[in-house]
């Protein structure tokens, strides 16, 4: 049996305050290579905290996060950053595109911290943009793109480094239903081609379209 891409092992996350806010209360979750799953829950359920911890943007208060067999709790900022650049891809609800860069350069930013040459970054970015159906918009700036196209650029940026895991946080949250469906279809296509994808959403309909659903409520997986 192969090593899972990601293992969340009894993870707790508490935010200091009076009283302290317990966002996660002992979450266990395993994601295998090639899987596509939805983490679904209402706002305040802890699903965003879970995403941040799975993406190593936040650290658990206790418990372990293992990525490709490596326990991340002992890794330095430098190592964690390296792990994100090589093995993780992020898609955000609000896209986080740089407005002064073309679509191509935005996607190439996904490789900026890999030490890859500019020429190589651009050629890989072009392939990624073609795979999300934006091969004809390479030089267009995000401000000239529709919401759905912007999210496609962001998805291309997430997959350009061929990560082990793509984490998508409410990827359709800023889009109308039809456009959102297109984005879900795209993610499913990418999954068909081998990408492991976790989608965080509060939308049960969207979650229902994915092969596996995990429900988070009050900091626990139900």
């Amino acid at each position: 049996m192969s090593t899972p891409v990601l293992e969340v092992d009894d993870v707790h996350r508490e935010y200091p305050g009076s009283p302290p806010v317990k966002a996660l209360n002992g979450v266990d979750l395993t994601v295998d290579a090639g899987e596509m799953l939805a983490v679904v829950g209402p706002s305040g359920s802890g699903k965003s905290t879970l995403l941040n911890i799975m993406g190593t943007l936040d650290r658990p208060t206790s418990g372990r996060l293992v990525i490709e067999g490596v326990d991340t709790s002992t890794l330095s900022d430098r190592r964690l950053s390296g792990l994100r650049s090589a093995r993780l891809g992020f898609v955000f609800q609000s896209f986080h595109l740089l407005e002064t860069l073309s679509a191509l350069d935005n996607v190439a930013t996904g490789l900026l911290y890999r030490g890859v040459s500019g020429r190589k970054r651009r050629s890989m970015a072009q392939k990624a943009l073609e795979s999300v159906g934006l091969g004809d918009r390479l030089q267009t700036r995000p401000t000239k793109l529709s919401g759905g196209q912007r999210q496609r650029v962001a998805i291309a940026r997430a997959i350009v480094a061929e990560p082990a895991l793509v984490l998508a946080d409410e990827p359709t949250g800023n889009l109308d239903t039809a456009t959102g469906d297109g984005i879900v279809d795209l993610l499913r296509d990418l999954n068909q081609d081998g990408a492991t994808i976790v989608v965080i959403t509060h939308d049960a309909d969207l979650a229902g379209q994915l092969p596996r659903q995990v429900e988070v409520r009050d900091g626990l997986i139900r």
Binding site: S48, N52, G55, L57, D58, V70, D77, R78, R79, S81, G82, L83, R84, S85, A86, R87, L88, F90, F92, S94, F95, H96, L98, E99, T100, L101, T109, G110, L112, Y113, R114, G115, S117, G118, R157
Partner: protein, 394 residues
């Protein structure tokens, strides 16, 4: 496991430039603050260097080998130089020329009925003085041996202005102690001898015969072979007045001109300090703008962290961005300061001297100040919690 973040240096520079390019108006205004500081410092250094270069050129033209031998003015009684001081001094080997003058207190007026006082006095001079002092004429001609006993006069530049005589048309005359003298020429500026510029020069013979002044010289001007300046100078006092060498004063007029350059240095330091203050204010401005920038760019910072930037990468990006911003101001300031120097030097008819060191230092100082100013905002950016930054909206 070989998970390491790596940002190439050229990509770091490109990323920092991107931040500046994305906010052009703000970049220009912030850089302007630094530019003003650098420009003022470059202009101060450039203008004083050009002024000094001009002074040295002037010194070259008038020579540093001119000496003035005069009675020592210490004590109450001024003992005049002996009558034969000039021929004695002329006999010293290294002395090329020696010209005696007799400065007087006689007021020079436009005409005999004029009661106003222009502050112009008369001076009797050996016609050879024109050669010794390398005088040039603004208009007319100098005194010569044939004119030395006639009632004719040459006006110093300042004297001519004070007397209101601008040219020789209509045959102007001046009145000295009730005697009319015809003006035959006006001198150019005399940087080494501003006192002579304020006098009206008449022939030495005419001074004695017409004005009735004592024939003792009040000063003897000497040109000395430059190489023998040091050895000759000590000989001059006993030669001019063998009986009372202590009553003789030997000075070098070019020393005063050089001293003037030294006096200017205080002003230069003051102006440099003011430029430094402007630079500091500019640096604080950069820090300010960068702090705001970091707050506005939380999303970008979060995104960069998500795609693999380390804290160090974020810090470097912002420090370099501040440095480049300031460096841009430095380049602008050096150009502006050079333009001011060139414009000013042209107006003053100076040689343009822009020390390359000052230009390089201007840009270097701007870079360093910018990077120092960027340290705090960069640290703030690097400390930003990536989870909060990505969720903080666009």
């Amino acid at each position: 496991m070989n998970w390491r973040s790596k940002l190439r240096f050229r990509d770091l520079v490109g990323t920092s430039f991107l931040g500046l390019r994305s906010r052009r108006g703000r970049t220009a205004l912030t850089a302007l603050g630094i530019a003003i500081g650098i420009a003022s410092m470059v202009a101060v250094v450039g203008i004083s260097a050009s002024s000094k270069a001009a002074l040295l050129a002037e010194l070259d033209a008038y020579g540093t080998n001119l000496l003035e031998v005069s009675p020592s003015s210490s004590g109450l009684a001024v003992e005049p130089l002996p009558l034969d001081a000039q021929p004695m001094l002329a006999r010293v080997d290294a002395v090329e020329t020696a010209s005696a003058v007799s400065k007087t207190n006689l007021e020079v007026r436009r005409n005999v009925n004029d009661s106003s006082i222009a502050g112009v006095t008369a001076m009797g001079a050996d016609p050879e003085l024109f050669t010794t002092l390398r005088m040039t004429m603004a208009t007319g001609r100098p005194l010569d041996d044939g004119l030395g006993s006639l009632p004719v006069a040459v006006l110093g530049e300042v004297a001519a202005i004070r007397l209101g005589i601008h040219d020789l048309s209509g045959g102007p005359t001046v009145s000295i102690d009730g005697h009319n003298f015809e003006v035959i020429g006006v001198l150019d500026e005399l940087p080494l001898n501003p006192d002579i510029s304020r006098t009206v020069i008449v022939g030495d013979t005419a001074a004695v015969e017409i004005l009735g002044i004592k024939p003792n010289p009040t000063s003897v001007y000497l040109r000395v072979t430059p190489e023998e300046m040091a050895t000759t100078r000590p000989l001059l006092k006993p030669t001019a007045n063998p009986d009372r060498p202590a009553k003789v004063n030997v000075s070098r007029p070019s020393d005063f001109l050089e001293a003037r350059a030294e006096v200017d240095r205080n002003l230069q330091n003051l102006l440099l300090a003011l430029g430094g203050v402007a630079l500091l204010v500019g640096g604080v401005g950069i820090a300010n703008v960068m702090v705001i920038s970091v707050l506005e760019r939380r999303g970008e910072i979060g995104l960069r962290r998500a795609v693999g930037a380390t804290r160090g990468h974020i810090r470097s990006q912002f420090v370099l961005e501040a440095g480049l911003l300031s460096g841009l101001g430095g380049v602008l300031g050096v150009l502006l300061g050079s333009a001011i120097t060139i414009g000013y030097a042209r107006r003053q008819d100076w040689v343009i001297d822009l020390p390359p060191f000052a230009l390089a230092a201007g840009i270097g100082a701007a870079l360093v100040i910018g990077m120092l100013a960027g340290l705090y905002p960069a640290a703030k950016a690097a400390r930003l919690d990536p989870a909060l930054a990505v969720s903080g909206g666009t």
